[in-house]
Amino acid sequence: MLPELFFGYFAAVIILLSVIVITRRNPVHSVMWMLLLFFHIAGLYLFLNAEFIAAIQVIVYAGAILVLFLFVLLLLNLREELKVKRFVGAWPAGLFITTAILVIVLGAVKSFVPGPAGKYSIEFIKQETHTKALGKLLYTDYLFPFEIASLVLLVAIIGAIVLAKRKTRSK
């Protein structure tokens, strides 16, 4: 019963916070609520025995990405945002579409049958420790994607510089 209650709490809060995030008039408030949302998601990860993921959720997502958002928001200084309307005129149409998809998707996942179980049982992870298990995999089997990810980040750096730098160097 307890896990269900626990899940129930987190699920309810996550959904609630999601709704709050996307409905705030002030983007800064949205970011703040999102921070809270991420913490809850991290909590859910812990509940799923994924400590490392929970950690980076907080550190990278909440700590880096959201801060970047906040930074940009403050840079842009959107004061008038508080006065104009938040949603586009046709938001009920959006609501209808999303709800409809949601209903169908929920109908589809209802009968979900998971695939075959792997070897990383909870006991195994507990014995190996989560971070270590993950790290080993990441640097052996998933070395290749890992390298690609590094390139993605490199491109992001180049891109950010190219797009956001102020002075043009062209002759």
Binding site: A108, V113, P114, Y139, T140, F144, P145, A149, L151, G159
Partner: protein, 478 residues
Amino acid sequence: MTNLTGFIMPDLGPVMPEIVMTCLALLILLSELVIKRKETIAFFSIVSVAIVTYLLAGSTGTTFNGMFIADGYSLFFKLIFMLNVILTVLISVKYIVIEKVNFGEYYSLILFSTLGMMLMASAGDLITLYLGLELMALSTYVLAGFLRHDIKSNEAAMKYFLLGSFASAFLLYGISMIYGLTGTTDLHAISSYISQKGLSGNPVLTLSMIMFAVAFSFKIAAVPFHMWAPDVYEGAPTSVTAFMSVGPKAAGFAVLGRVFLTAFGAARIEWTGILIPIAILTMAVGNIAAISQTNIKRMLAYSSIAHAGYILLGIIAGTSEGMASVLNYLFIYAFMNIGAFAVVIMLRSEGFKGDNISDYEGLAKTHPLAAALMLVFMFSLTGIPPTAGFMGKFYLFMSAVSAGYTWLAVTAVIFSAISAYFYLRIVMYMYMKEPKTAVQLSASPGIALALAITVIAVLLIGVFPSKVISVARIAAGF
């Protein structure tokens, strides 16, 4: 395995071209610091691509636990990507000077984007696939917004970026579902699990296929996930538009073919049901919307949408014949589309945008050669023999008919006939109207070379398609 000491370095042979490509791209990125003449960088880029192309020939095999597959299929796509890079660089050299964005990053971003495409073509695992896709996409977002001071370019980048991320999210949702359903992300493993368990018809499988279809449709600009394309094509720098119209589209088809034919091979009935309406809509909307365009880049955007529709026929056929026709078509498409963009780029000169269709009025009188080249490309895009475009379409329709989709082929040919209307309009403007303004062509050796390559290829493949078709057939697994 879990013990690090047991780690055996995977075979790097198959992945060598990508590794070299990465190194060279980084080198070019750094070389900008020392080399002042950007043309040299362009030249280096072409040399790098040539080196990579050379390496491609010797590197086949599967490595990284099946995450990277270098087979004929990926090889052929990589050839298209290399071609794309070479032609794009050739037409860019002068253009980016005119646009005042002559930065070295431009070339390295193109190379990184191409690297992403190569990874997509070779992806044997959904994780590499996703990362390759993102690598390509992020580079392209940046390239689309490369004209920082141009509002249209900004807007194009913004639209492309937001919608692209939106589509990626759908892809991820699909990946997560298929992962949950099969417990793996390896394409072959997924395939064998699905056929073994008889999962065909499972709603979650269908849902995840839909999500894949959505994300890939976005990349290939298929209706209704094409909405970004006209705006982005228009706003992005023309050379980037040319690049985007071939590279990411081909990469999209590479993963589409790989995922749907390999991983979801057993659920063909379902995914043809998804793709057929998309294909028809794509052909319809692409061809019809192009008719009333006034901007040539936008028109070519719709044209490229329409072409995605035709190519989908080869995927829907679901046979190796179909795949061969897709490969063949994309190869031809690279030539004719970039050729067309090369002419478009030539019209851009200092202080003159030259991207309105009306700018082409009387081009045959002022610049007969350019007009003649454009004519060839337009007829090729329409699919009129003896140009390569015809051979490409012909083979596509053949594969569709051979797979039993005669009615689909009929639909396609009718839309292809409709397409003649807007391609001919360009020819009509060039040849049958009097010039209003004196258009200045900004020709350069690069563009001249690119045009020579493309036009010769278009005509040569149009008359002697045999080699390309047989190579495509080998690549598609004959």
